[in-house]
Symmetry: C2
Subunit: 200 residues, 2 copies
């Protein structure tokens, strides 16, 4: 932001620019927008940041974000507590819940193994997963990390830890996205789609 | 945001979604990002919002955002105080300053006349502009509002008020954007480019 504007506005734009997916130009626009808010609106916005940050904790079971000791999913006796879907982030849970198909429970790793970024297996919530499985009653663990190098490596690492415990470990299917066309599919997706073809 | 997450996170996402250009999906992503901040980072972010909102005022001359009574541009004796460039918002000033070509000063309207949205001429800073010109010493007013219906109407309205005061009123040129191609120019731009053609 140029020197022709007020310093607190520049500092606010810099704060917005630190958020993911927000470049310096969007950050400026957002900072200018804050100036058009009423006092109450600006306070409500700042309060929402602080309240969410201070009151939201991780579920003691699945590590999803929650205000209580247990998240609503772990606390729900209707869910299948024998199936655990392992995801990278809490927002992945939202994606699965949107399908309205999955009836099991989750485990959030809060990251993926990535030695190049200094994220070793002890930096993500793998031991919490092992401790849940150690309590018994879990028949299947679905590895639902993203199909990236880190996602694959993390899925492999965890499955090697779980196999000796006699738990079935599965992985999400990869293939053509529904509604997609062959023309626009990348070669790796196409290869996976071919490799994982099924009889009709 | 689904019911499977904590309420303060939902409320925070709603706050983000009220910002311009941020949809519900981006808002969720930003809310989740706040959870990964340290206590200090969350506090710095919330403080930046409140500090900018409470300490930044409008320049008593040009209505640009500033921390002081006068903004750095109005306060600069090197600038040409006889030329006023009239813009809709403070961020338009940033755009002009980036060209490093304009040496005059500015006037921010903080909006455009739009009767359909209830924005009548008295709702934007037109009287402040008239009072500046009333003090004398201004030879030219450049109407630099956007080439939209509201921008054009506002430019016309103000130029009619200013002409009787003996001030030269000019308008930005419209035409092909530099680096653009005829093929992709819309017909109105092309018509304007043709209409405003100049001898070479």
């Amino acid at each position: 932001m140029a020197s022709n504007t007020a310093l607190p506005l520049v500092l606010l734009a810099e704060q917005f620019a630190r958020l993911p997916g927000i470049g310096m130009k969007s950050a400026q626009r957002l900072a200018y927008h804050v100036m058009t808010m009423t006092d109450e609106e600006a306070k409500a916005f700042a309060d929402a940041v602080l309240t969410a940050h201070s009151t939201v904790k991780c579920c003691s079971e699945c590590q999803n974000f929650t205000e209580n000791a247990l998240c609503p999913i772990c606390d729900d006796p209707e869910r299948d507590h024998g199936t655990i879907c392992v995801v990278e982030t809490p927002k992945d849970i939202t994606a699965f819940e949107r399908t309205n198909e999955y009836k099991g429970i989750y485990h959030v790793l809060h990251g993926l193994i990535s030695p190049i970024d200094g994220i070793t297996p002890d930096k993500i919530r793998i031991k919490e997963l092992l401790s849940r499985i150690g309590k018994g009653g879990v028949s299947e663990v679905i590895m639902a990390t993203n199909p990236t190098v880190e996602g694959e490596a993390t899925a492999m690492y965890i499955s090697k830890l779980l196999k000796p415990l006699g738990v079935k470990v599965t992985r999400l299917a990869f293939g053509l996205p529904i509604g997609g066309t062959l023309e626009y599919a990348d070669e790796v997706t196409l290869f996976k789609a071919l490799e994982n073809r099924s009889e009709i």
